[in-house]
Amino acid sequence: MKAVITVIGHDTVGILHKVSGICAEKNANVIEVTQSVLQDLFAMFMLVDICRLSCDFSELSESLTALGKELGLSIHVMHEDIFNSMHRI
């Protein structure tokens, strides 16, 4: 099982560090990261393995949402199935 973490907002120092820190803390293995900075806008997409999470999925989701609020970023974590089913036949 994999989940997609998306982070969108103003670029600041240490976003990747903080997000991946939470992933490590919850035992979510980061598989792939795509990141771009267009002018001031930071966008990062992270594919993580959630098979061996040390907590509930909802706890991971809440921690990341809380981090988003703290940093003024929009952070979502969603199961990858939703993207696969909506965009692939």
């Binding site: 998306t6 795509t34 929009s74």
Partner: protein, 452 residues
């Protein structure tokens, strides 16, 4: 890795365009709860519903978190309650209504539908008792929905039931006059009622369905509107393709959620209802889709054609996205639940007559329409008869959910709150249909050939 623009599109649909799963509805058969004594029936019904739907709400919430997609309602549909009443010896249907309300509260669902009777060809033992109990049942409960099927393409229209329902709708409004006449907002009169409908107020669990199953109803008018607004100069056939592509994505999400819910709850997956169900929220309106196609106001000439295009494209796009489609599938046009429809009705452009024409080409019928409080029961019956005739002749589901605003006149409003929205009192024809409705009897089933 997934395509980043696909990821962003999904997030935008949910965050900005009000994409959501409108409902996960668990259909539960209560045929095995029949007994001669109503108290026994009530005990069995309560036990079965609370056992089967024990984890429904928690499951819905878990799926919401996992997929990051809002699931607005969790609901239950049951075997038409008139069948249970039929099996008892003169049991009071209102008692059953209270039991269903308690079961709704215990399971935490938003609505429980199926306080229903199917009388398209005539009344059986418990049908009339149940129908006559509807106004009181709706006044004394909050989460219960009632429906009555008065006609079908194969049976014709039961005009005795149509006459009775005019009186019942009015009485339901009178009994809830101090609560925005909310009773009839939970009551729908159908023709060709589907047996696997997840949407209220017309949901019930048909006798041909399995013991227990889950259905999903999707929503997403905002997504469709935003998609077509990106192509202001597209031709009509290009518009149809844009709508199909969007409906495909929306429905795939419904299919995913339904499959997941079915697995987690350990019950079969029923159907996805391919619907565009509006809410009063800004940006979630079917009327605004039609206006986005180029109509200045919903309800003007051209509205029926635009709606026909929309409805057909939604179905074509959705059918391929789901393994099993059913329910009411199509675009809904409930006036009080759609910001664009409310504005169009207030401005006077959208009339009941135009809405009736629109129902010939889209899902369901005259829905959430507030009419003057002094409208006679026979006129309400005549509205029901007209709508049932459209459904019967065109082999489609049609329905009437009108709310007589007791003590109010044209120009005033009823405010139901929440998903039910705000409804302006719309004018109805003052001339009497009393004599026609008083005749009773049955409109014979229509010809299925010589279609003109």
């Amino acid at each position: 890795m997934l395509n980043t623009s696909d990821i962003l599109e999904t997030i935008r649909m949910i965050q900005d365009e009000c994409l959501d799963i409108r409902t996960i509805t668990m259909g539960i058969s209560l045929l095995d709860c029949c007994a001669e004594d109503m108290n026994t029936v009530c005990d069995r019904v309560y036990d079965k519903i609370t056992k089967k739907a024990e984890k429904l709400v928690a499951t819905g919430e878990q799926i919401e978190t996992e997929y990051g997609i809002p699931i607005i309602n969790k609901r239950i549909s049951i075997t038409p309650a008139a069948m249970l009443v039929s099996a008892t010896r003169g049991g009071d249907p209102v008692k059953l209504a209270h039991t269903l309300q308690r079961a709704a509260e215990a399971t935490g669902v938003n609505f429980i539908g199926g306080f229903s009777a199917l009388v398209h060809k005539g009344f059986s033992a418990g049908d009339e008792a149940l129908i006559r109990a509807i106004p009181q049942a709706l006044a004394e409960t909050t989460n219960l929905c009632a429906s009555v099927n008065v006609g079908s393409t194969k049976a014709g229209i039961n005009m005795d039931a149509v006459r009775l329902m005019g009186e019942i709708v009015r009485e339901a409004a009178v009994l809830t006059a101090d609560n925005q006449c909310f009773g009839p907002a939970k009551l729908v009169v159908l023709c060709n009622a589907p047996e696997d409908n997840p949407f209220m107020a017309g949901a019930f669990h048909g006798v041909g369905e399995p013991d227990c199953e889950v259905h999903v109803g999707v929503s997403g008018p905002g997504v469709v509107r935003s998609a077509i607004e990106k192509y202001p100069d597209a031709s009509i056939d290009e518009l149809a393709n844009i709508i199909k592509r969007t409906a495909f994505k929306i429905t795939r999400m419904g299919q995913l959620v339904g499959t997941r819910a079915s697995g987690m709850l350990g019950v079969p997956f029923g159907i996805v209802d391919l619907s565009l169900a509006p809410t009063p929220a800004v940006g979630d309106s079917v009327a605004h889709i039609l206006e986005g196609m180029g109509l200045s106001v919903c309800g003007m000439h051209g509205t029926t054609a635009a709606l026909a295009l929309l409805n057909d494209a939604v179905k074509k796009g959705g059918v391929m996205a789901s393994s099993s489609v059913g329910g009411l599938s199509g675009a809904f046009i409930p006036v009080s639940e759609d910001a664009g429809m409310i504005d169009a009705a207030v401005s006077g452009v959208l009339s009941i007559e135009k809405l009736e024409a629109m129902t010939a080409v889209c899902s369901v019928g005259l829905d959430m329409i507030v009419i003057p409080g002094d409208t006679p029961a026979s006129t309400i019956s005549a509205i029901i008869a007209d709508e049932a005739a459209i459904g019967m002749v065109n082999s489609k589901t049609t329905a009437v959910r009108v709310i007589p605003a007791i003590g109010k006149q044209e120009g005033e409003m009823l405010d139901f709150g929440g998903l039910f929205g705000v409804g302006p009192v719309m004018p109805v024809r003052g001339e009497s249909a009393e004599k026609f409705i008083a005749r009773g009897g049955r409109i014979p089933a229509p010809m299925q050939s010589l279609k003109n």
